[in-house]
Every structure is written in C-alpha cells, then in structure tokens.
C-alpha cells in the first residue's frame, strides 16, 4: 500500500507553487522557471476500483459543483458523460474476455490526463487561459477563457466541456489548489480502496510496477502501466489489467496524440497564413510603387464622348 498523504494542518498556509512555476502558458510565453518542481501524478489502478463513485462525489464537493439529477439510461455511468460540473466520471464497460469467456466489469475513472504535451493548451487562442506548471499540472484559468472550444478540439482524450451558463471551459484541475498546500486530489482522498493514489510521478511508477507484478502473478499477463508517450506521458496514469488493449476501457485511446489536423492548424497554417496576408499587402504596395496608378487619360474621356455623341447624333 502506498502511504496516503497525511491530513494537513488546519492553519492557513501559502501556496508552494504559483505563476513563477509555469512552463507553458497558452497563446503567450513565460520566462523559464528558476526551479523544477517535482513532477506529480495520480495513479488510477482500475483493478482495485469498486465503482463506488466516491471520487465523483468528492470532486463535486471540493469544486463546489452540483450536477443535475439525470435519467437512468440503463447503465451505471452517471452522469452519462463528463459535463462542465463533472470533472471526473466512472465509465463502466461489460467486456467478455475472449480467452476465458469470463464477463469482466471494467471501470475506468475518466478525466483530464494532464498531458506533458497538452493539446488543449496548444489549441487555445486566449493568452493565459490554459497553463502548465513544472509539476505537470495543466490548469484552466477561467478569467482568461473566451469559451471558443478550441481546447476541446485540441484534446486527444475529449475531456474539456464548455459551460452553457458562463461559456467557459472546465475540466479536472488535479486539485491544483489542494496540491499547492501539500494535499492530494480530493478524489484520491476519498477513494476507499486506494485505487487512486497521488504522489511524485517516479514514486507512482514504482508503486504501479509492484501492482503490475502482483496482477501478473494472478494471471493478468498483459497488465501494465498507461502513461502514453504520444502526448509526452501523462500526469494521470492507469494500471490496466489488459494494458495491451486500452480501448476496451470505454475507448481509452491506444496511442493518443494531438490530432495531425490540429497540429497543421496550429502549426503551418498559423505561420503560412499570416505570411500570405503580409505578402499580398507587400506585393500590392510594391506594384503600386513600381507601376504607378492606372489613370484614365484625356484621350479616354474624348473617346467616350465621341462614342456617346455618335450614338446620340445617329438617332
């Protein structure tokens, strides 16, 4: 068992990291931070999850969000998808293992993966609306968000949701406010089986390795860690008993990366576009300087007069 974080002191304490620890800021640049924070990670061991949804409740509680009472759609997922209020969601899958013919009930806690290479941040056009700290947390700064929904298109995991009320994007913050005062995320705190643990990313990997070894000894030959390299690794990782097929866990992408369409839009198009516009203006300017204005001559006016008079006179 990974030791849970101790209960914090109730005395107010200053945040241990902040603006000065940003490594990326959307649509703007930040000075290189003077220190590197320890990278953190949340490790979700799906094999230990009992589907109690305490994490969802804790998330709503801590973030002071309320989800509307929904409808039963014949599945355990509640609400049926992530929403602007529901930053984390247990997704339930009934899967028949073709090898054993056993019905396996797969439960995955979905939410922001806090990618090392965040697609949302890359896509965001609003300066400072999405930030990334050197500890790996990717956070939305709502006062800078313009609600365009570009982050939704940038995200390889389909996580951000735009509020219909204030038109701003919402997602899991990895409880950056709690982490800043030495606590762990609310979901990890609430989890009764330690399926969710939180700590330095290196520790989480070591803890995961032990869990994977244990799972393998119990017959899950393909047990493994989900820390996808296509997005530079993530700061929310899964221990999966079938790590060779992440897609069976409610469509967890096998090799997530920022869509090439988004890369093209935020890469070549952005620069080539402005270059094209500037070139057209420049060519126009140069052409005018070289050729001079195209003026109507007196002869043109005389010709027009003659044409008009010929016709008028001819009738």
């Amino acid at each position: 068992m990974y030791p849970p974080l101790p209960n914090p002191s109730v005395q107010p304490s200053a945040a241990v990291y902040g603006e000065q620890d940003l490594i990326r800021r959307s649509a703007s640049s930040v000075p290189a931070p003077s220190r590197q924070l320890t990278e953190v990670a949340k490790l979700i061991d799906v094999s230990k999850c009992i589907g109690c949804k305490a994490c969802q409740v804790a998330c709503l509680e801590w973030n002071d969000m309320r989800e509307e009472v929904g409808e039963n759609r014949g599945v355990y997922d509640n609400p049926e998808d992530l929403t602007p209020a529901m930053f984390t969601l247990m997704r339930f899958t009934e899967w028949v293992n073709p090898e054993s013919n056993d019905l396996e009930w797969l439960i995955r806690k979905d939410g922001c993966m806090h990618c090392a290479d965040p697609g949302c941040l890359k896509a965001c056009p609003a300066p400072g609306a999405i930030v990334q700290y050197s500890n790996g947390i990717v956070d939305f700064v709502h006062e800078n968000c313009i609600g365009c929904g570009y982050c939704v298109k940038g995200c390889p995991f389909n996580i951000p949701r735009i509020s219909k009320v204030d038109h701003k994007a919402y997602k899991c913050t990895l409880c950056s406010d709690r982490v800043a005062v030495g606590q762990g995320p609310a979901c990890a705190k609430a989890c009764p089986t330690q399926a969710i643990v939180f700590g330095p990313k290196e520790d989480m990997k070591q803890h995961a390795a032990k869990r994977i070894e244990d799972l393998k000894s119990r017959g899950f030959a393909n047990a493994g860690l989900y820390d996808p390299p296509g997005v530079g690794g993530t700061h929310v990782m899964y221990v999966l008993h079938h790590a060779d097929k992440p897609e069976i866990y409610a469509d967890l992408p096998k090799d997530p990366k920022i869509s090439p369409v988004v890369e093209l839009w935020k890469g070549l198009t952005k620069y080539a576009g402005l270059t094209a516009i500037a070139s057209f203006v420049g060519i126009g300017f140069l052409h005018h300087v070289v050729s001079g204005a195209n003026r109507v001559s007196d002869e043109d006016e005389r010709n027009a007069k003659r044409l008009t008079e010929d016709q008028t006179g001819g009738r």
């Binding site: 313009i146 365009c148 389909n158 988004v262 839009w265 576009g273 050729s291 006016e301 008009t308 009738r315």
Partner: protein, 232 residues
C-alpha cells in the same frame, strides 16, 4: 449585335463633359458596404482568435469573450449581405470568351498596357475571379463555421469533423482575406473606381478604358431612362 448580358438595372450613360456613367444603384452600394463592413469585422475578430500576436484585436470587440460570441453572428450578416450582391451581380460575372484572353495577358494588365487587352463587359476576368472566389469561400466559411459554432451547433458534428472544420475555416479565411486585398488594391490602383461604389457613377473615360464593351452596350442600348431596361 450580341445581346448585352451584363447591363444591369440603373446603369445609364449621361452625355456631357465628361460623360458620366451610372454603375451602381444606391441599393447596390448600401448592400456592398454592409458586406464590406461585415467582412472587415470578421477578418479582425477572426484573426484575433487565429494568431496570438493578433489577440489584441479582440479589444475592438470588447474582449475575447465578446469576440467569440459576436464573430459568428457577423458571419450570418455577411452571408445574407453577400447573397444580395450575388443575386445582383452573378449574371454580369458569367465567364466569357474574352475573359480567357484577358487572363492570358495579365502581364499587360499589370504593366498598364491596356491597349493590348480585349474589350470587356461590366467586369473583367480579374473581377469575375474575385466574385466567384468570394462566393465559394463564403459558402465554405459559413458551413465550416456552423460546425465550430459550439454555442448552438456543437451537438451536430463529431469532434473529428470539428477539427477538420476549424482547419478548413482558417485556411478559407486566409484565402478570402488575400482575395479581399486584391479586390481593395485593384480598386485603389485603378483610379476612378472607388467613386463607383461611393457615389455610384464613373466617368465615360473610365468605362472606355476599362469596360469598353459594357460602355458600348450601354450606349447602343440608348441612354434615355428606359434604355437599360429595354436592352436586357
């Protein structure tokens, strides 16, 4: 004589010194300037969300949130305003035999060797290309725009479709801005043109120099009040 295809309503020759030619009705000019204003506002608001270095343009619209909210609505205004222009001008913009010749002699156009160019109707090949490019691009822009207008239409497209739509939208926007630059530059470079859209008329010499076929059609179609109508 060939049937005049491009003489529109309200176009008339007034003999005098100089000769003047009515080119655009008041309604057409108002229609044009609504379209023009929408296109400029769309370019400014769109560019602010396209490149971080231009985000400051969003201040013109009262900040990023307002820019995001207002941009699609201006797009709707542009669509209908341009539809008005399209219905007014499409016929005079149909491609004719002389347009190919004119395009082939683009070098003469740019070097002001107007004497080497074929006589053209109300619009030359360059203007026709601007017209058709604008028409096509506006359709591309409004359709891709609906796919990324999340406030009302997010449920109708998949995430992958939205990604493609946002890329198509930005490329089409860049192209239409370039077409717009050509349009504006041509109007400035060819002196006497802008008055057609501000006051509605051009001089006879301007029409003789740049749209001689149109002028001939206007003149032979008679220059009394009903002339243009009868000529159609």
């Amino acid at each position: 004589m060939e049937k005049p295809y491009d003489v529109g309503p309200g176009e008339r020759v007034h003999p005098g010194d100089p000769v003047t030619v009515d080119r655009y009705t008041t309604a057409a000019r108002i229609n044009h300037w609504i379209t023009a204003a929408s296109l400029v506002l769309l370019a400014l608001s769109g560019l602010s969300m396209f490149h971080p270095s231009l985000f400051f343009l969003s201040k013109l619209f009262g900040g990023g949130e307002n820019t995001r909210a207002i941009h699609p609505w201006i797009g709707v205004v542009l669509f209908f305003a341009f539809l008005g222009l399209f219905l007014r001008f499409w016929k005079a913009n149909l491609w004719k035999r002389e347009d190919g010749t004119w395009m082939a002699r683009l070098r003469d156009v740019l070097t002001k060797h107007d004497e080497n160019l074929p006589e053209v109707g109300k619009y030359n090949a360059g203007q026709k290309m601007v017209f058709w490019l604008m028409s096509i691009l506006i359709i591309v822009l409004i359709s891709s725009g609906f796919a990324i207008w999340d406030e009302y239409f997010s449920q109708y497209t998949t995430l992958d479709q939205k990604r493609i739509a946002v890329l198509v939208h930005s490329i089409a926007a860049i192209v239409i801005i370039c077409v717009w630059i050509v349009h504006v530059y041509a109007a400035i470079w060819v002196r006497g043109t802008i008055r057609a859209m501000t006051r509605g008329w051009v001089t006879g010499g301007w029409a003789w120099r740049h749209h001689r076929k149109w002028l001939r059609e206007l003149v032979t179609g008679k220059n009394d009040d009903s002339g243009a109508k009868r000529a159609r």
